[in-house]
């Protein structure tokens, strides 16, 4: 965030680059009153780094849990200890008999076709990639992509809103929340150990 302290930091950096003579000249020409005026003026328009300016009222950083609708499915941020339990439930909820898995290891890709019966065992054997690597899973017309750390996107093209709500409810349940989502679009996010739900 570009703040008064940001201006102070920029000034300190500027002064730090001056020679001793230039510093004396700087101190003579810019008194305390001028510095106070600068401080009150706040950020200089156009100098703020867009990437570091927080939108007022928006939280910054990752929630402990996040389950929300997106245009084509669900966005999820789950604690790593909940990830395997949730993913193992997907073939049943999506009613698929096999899963095609594409996972990345050491700069290369591996393709696996796994039956629904063997899926849980497969995930146990590949926990390293599931929890910290990157992978994509195709479950019928649904596609799950995970960047590790519980960060996932579940594309649900052609899949009903009811199944979408069921998946989201199941994601919350695996994280210890007994909350049934009912809206067509929703977000459920846990911040500071409290679940905040918005449904539309």
């Amino acid at each position: 965030m570009s703040t008064q302290s940001g201006i102070g930091q920029a000034l300190a950096e500027l002064v730090g680059r001056l020679t001793p003579d230039e510093k004396r000249e700087f101190a003579r020409s810019l008194g305390w009153k001028e510095l106070e005026v600068l401080r009150r003026q706040g950020p200089v328009p156009g100098l703020a780094d867009e990437g570091t300016v927080a939108h007022p009222g928006r939280r910054v950083g990752e929630p402990q849990v996040y389950v929300g609708t997106i245009s084509d499915g669900l966005a999820l941020e789950l604690p790593v200890e909940c990830v395997a339990a949730f993913v193992k439930r997907l073939p049943t909820i999506l009613s698929v008999s096999s899963v095609e898995v594409y996972l990345r290891r050491n700069g290369g890709g591996e393709e696996h076709q796994v039956s629904a019966e063997e899926f849980a065992g497969f995930l146990d054997a590949h926990q390293d990639v599931l929890l910290e690597g990157s992978l994509m899973m195709e479950l019928g017309s649904a596609t799950l992509v995970s960047g590790g750390g519980g960060c996932m996107r579940l594309v649900l093209e052609g899949i009903s809103g009811e199944v979408r709500r069921r998946l989201a409810t199941e994601a919350l349940r695996t994280c210890g929340f007994d909350y049934e989502l009912r809206g067509d679009s929703f977000t459920a996010a846990m911040w500071d150990d409290e679940l905040e739900v918005a449904e539309h």
Partner: protein, 69 residues
């Protein structure tokens, strides 16, 4: 569509999905969970893929971009 191509496009979609959150994901999260996997995928496409793969990735990116409209 080849798995590596679809996976590449999916990570781009994951990145877009983060831009629409109600909160601001940390730069570390965006780097580790999206950009690094995306770069890993793209590197393989450039080094071992075909021109068709590269084109399919770009078309996939554009499809994801259309979701923003």
């Amino acid at each position: 569509m080849k798995k590596n191509v679809k996976s590449t496009v999916s990570f781009f979609g994951l990145l877009i999905a983060h831009s629409q959150r109600e909160y601001e994901p940390s730069p570390e999260h965006v780097l580790k969970r999206m950009f690094l996997p995306l770069c890993d995928h793209l590197t393989e496409i450039v080094e071992k893929g075909t021109k068709n793969d590269a084109w399919d990735v770009i078309e996939g990116f554009v499809r994801e971009c259309h979701r923003l409209e």
